[in-house]
């Protein structure tokens, strides 16, 4: 952003295929997967959602609402000014249930539960009811840009009201329907691999992941601040590595910084031999001398996987450590981690940058 406003992450709730829901931990235990589908490691939902409500909720709504609660508790706030969510495929399991029922019952005698819980804004709506948040409410569903759209939406509001707090969240589930429908496009690898070996494969496709994350974004710094989110940018279908590099260079320049100041960059490669080509070219040229961390072997690939990158970067900056499991080629953790850059892509179409700073 070019305005004078600043943006700080004051709280995080992250539920992913790793045990990330506990903010005291930082990838201390690693879960491995060998079927190309990574599913969320979930907390005991009763600690976050009342039992009567819990019974009526789909798995993904539970995950989403729990991560929102973890975030609010972490941030130490009860009443955010708005809720903005992002998703690629939404609650596709619920959509599938309603769709199958409709086809099997030949459009007769249907019940609305799965239809209601399948709408993309169901999480933002339910969270609003749960915490009685009558303020701003929006939901983005723009594939690999959805999460960045949501962050940018909150940032524009913070330019207007710096004391406000926006609960910005993302969710995507490892839905079987998506997995099967995208086999034809080689979105996911045909041969089963162990997730930790993702970057040592030479085949087409990636592994499917999921997760829900919420961030409390505000315009003022506090004791609870994880880091500053300096800026977010999106690049749609860059045609060449040079075009992508030029966009990155503009992004850094706009934010009065350069690659020399970046302590570590988060590489959003997916292990797909074809779709990673541009980002790998950037990795081996412009970003060659910057230490890198990778993460999609831990969370899998999904439309809003950059929320995992934001959690990872914020955690590095807050905890001043870099777990060995994310280091690309091994490197010595810098004495002080001040600046983290995320460069990611979804399906070689949606490229995004995020710049995070220690406070």
């Amino acid at each position: 952003m070019t305005g004078k406003a600043q943006y700080f992450i004051q709280g995080i709730g992250m539920i992913s295929p790793q045990k990330t829901f506990d903010n005291q931990m930082f990838l201390d235990e690693i879960t491995t997967y060998d079927q190309n589908v990574l599913t969320a490691v979930v907390p005991d939902f009763k600690a976050y959602i009342n039992p009567i409500q819990l019974r009526r909720l789909s798995r993904m709504l539970r995950i989403g609402l729990a991560s929102a609660t973890i975030c609010l508790r972490d941030a130490g706030i009860e009443h955010p000014d708005g809720i903005i969510t992002a998703t690629g495929y939404g609650f596709l399991d619920e959509t599938e249930k309603f769709l199958r029922e409709m086809l099997e019952m030949k459009e007769k005698q249907l019940t609305p539960t799965h239809f209601m819980q399948g709408t993309y804004n169901a999480l933002a709506g339910l969270e609003a009811v749960m915490i009685k948040c009558m303020g701003y409410n929006n939901t983005y569903v723009s594939k690999g840009f959805a999460f960045e759209n949501a962050l940018q939406d909150a940032m524009l509001h913070l330019e207007e009201h710096s004391a406000a707090h926006y609960l910005v969240g993302s969710y995507d589930e490892a839905a079987a329907v998506q997995f099967i429908a995208s086999i034809r496009e080689n979105h996911f690898k045909a041969e089963p691999i162990v997730n930790l070996n993702l970057f040592n494969t030479a085949t087409k496709g990636t592994i499917q992941g999921e997760g829900a994350a919420f961030f409390d974004l505000t315009g003022t710094r506090s004791e609870n601040t994880w880091c500053e989110l300096r800026d977010v940018a999106m690049v749609y279908r860059p045609e060449t590595k040079d075009a992508l590099a030029a966009s990155l260079s503009d992004f850094l320049k706009t934010n009065n910084t350069s690659l020399e100041e970046v302590d570590v960059w988060l590489n959003g490669i997916t292990g797909d031999a074809v779709r990673d080509v541009l980002l790998k070219a950037l990795e081996h040229s412009d970003l060659k001398s910057v230490p890198q961390a990778r993460y999609k072997h831990l969370c899998g690939d999904y439309c809003t996987a950059t929320s995992f990158a934001l959690w990872l970067g914020a955690s590095m900056l807050k905890k001043q450590s870099i777990p060995e499991v994310v280091k690309g080629p091994a490197f010595e953790t810098p004495k002080e981690i001040k600046t983290v850059l995320s460069v990611s892509h979804y399906m070689n179409r949606n490229y995004t940058f995020m710049l995070m700073q220690r406070v």
Partner: protein
């Protein structure tokens, strides 16, 4: 310095017309799109009539100027037709388009094609033409399709807040312009009828098999519809630079949440009140400066009561003229906000207030009633358009003469 946001063009397709001219003629002659379904194949084609566009996808491809058989869903096709008309109407150059943002609202993306080919798509061994629709369960797919078809690169966002989606895409486009992120944003939404949607709303028991009657005491629910509309928003700077005469100014907008229930509005219309009030505050206008409200007015028992109370609370004893145009087009869900914004723009341009068709019996709970007859030669300066949705989303946009 924040930029003022102007509207310099628009495009529309609904069951009452495949472009602006046809929509205007239908509005003036009280022609509604309600009737039996014969393009969509559903068992409800006679029992649950809706406002369907009587064109098959092949014909839509021709109107949209794209080849048939290349994976364009009906949602994308309707969107493209409106989008291209909008681009033309605002006289945007290819360079303008490339540097513009596209913000589109949808409730279900390409579910119509996905449901049709579901079993084939779920069997990876099968091959055939259906494979072009493999990714149509993704709501963002249509946004990228449309952007690719017209050459938009700079900014893409797809929004989904149920029935307020396109109102929110207009708002977010305005935000991006206001804060200098974009000079041009093409904003709206697109919605195709599908079995998924018809059966979903039917399972909630809020579809009226007869023609809907917004704000009428005998109302029994909504009629579904399909369509798309896009508005071209431009910054003050862009308008001055190109010496354009804007059609109108987007003066204010408000987004709030009712925080009451997942699929129902609060009986007192708190969210509706808040959204309209925010729009007025941003525009720095008093309630008595609003000349017309295009109500959300879905004709469900719940919406019209809640919205009616919200309007009465905000405007007190001086409620402006208001009407719901849903009987014309049906409830076009994600596209409703932008379609009705276009009707507001047509109203301003032609100094006309559109009638609330099918209103006969006063709701005893309300002290106000909607406009029944077409009103012409009206002195309109500022109008509000409301869009509310599941999930408690309430949005209101305020359009004024430039």
């Amino acid at each position: 310095m924040s930029q003022r946001v102007f509207i310099t063009g628009f495009g529309i397709i609904t069951s009452i017309g495949k472009n602006t001219t046809e929509n205007l003629a239908s509005l003036l002659h009280r022609r509604c799109g309600f009737g039996e379904l014969n393009v969509l194949d559903t068992i409800h084609s006679r029992t649950l009539p809706a406002c369907e566009i009587k064109l098959f996808n092949q014909e839509l491809c021709e109107l949209a100027g794209v080849p048939h058989g290349k994976g364009y869903t009906r949602t994308s096709l309707l969107g493209l037709i409106a989008l291209k008309e909008a681009i033309q109407s605002a006289s945007l150059s290819p360079a303008d388009v490339r540097e513009a943002g596209l913000l589109s609202g949808t409730t279900t993306g390409g579910i119509r094609e996905f449901e049709r080919h579901f079993y084939e798509l779920m069997d990876p061994q099968q091959k055939g033409d259906f494979a072009q629709f493999a990714d149509t369960a993704n709501p963002g797919e249509h946004g990228e399709r449309m952007a690719d078809a017209v050459g938009i690169k700079k900014y893409i966002a797809t929004l989904s807040t149920a029935c307020s989606s396109s109102a929110n895409s207009i708002m977010q486009g305005a935000q991006l312009i206001k804060h200098g992120k974009l000079d041009r944003a093409i904003c709206g939404g697109t919605e195709a009828l599908s079995r998924f949607t018809i059966n979903g709303f039917n399972s909630l028991m809020i579809v009226d098999p007869n023609h809907c009657r917004p704000f009428d005491n005998t109302r029994k629910g909504l009629n579904l519809g399909e369509g798309a509309a896009f508005l071209v928003l431009e910054s003050e700077r862009a308008v001055i630079e190109k010496r354009k005469t804007p059609l109108a100014e987007l003066r204010g907008y408000g987004n709030a949440n009712d925080a009451f229930h997942q699929t129902a509005s609060s009986p007192e219309g708190t969210g509706a009140y808040n959204a309209m009030n925010l729009a007025l505050t941003m525009a720095n206008l008093a309630p008595n400066q609003i000349d017309y409200i295009n109500a959300h007015g879905t004709a469900t028992e719940n919406n019209d009561l809640s919205e009616g109370f919200g309007i009465q609370t905000l405007f007190g004893g001086a409620v402006p003229l208001f009407s719901s145009t849903k009987p014309y087009t049906g409830h076009t869900l994600a596209a409703a906000g932008s379609i009705e914004a276009v009707y507001c723009l047509l109203g301003l341009q032609h100094r006309t207030v559109w009638p609330n068709i099918n209103f006969h019996e006063q709701m005893p709970e309300l002290s106000v009633s909607p406009v029944r007859e077409l009103k012409q030669e009206m002195d309109l300066k500022n109008v509000l358009s409301n869009s509310f949705g599941f999930g408690g989303n309430t949005s209101s946009i305020l359009i004024g003469l430039a």
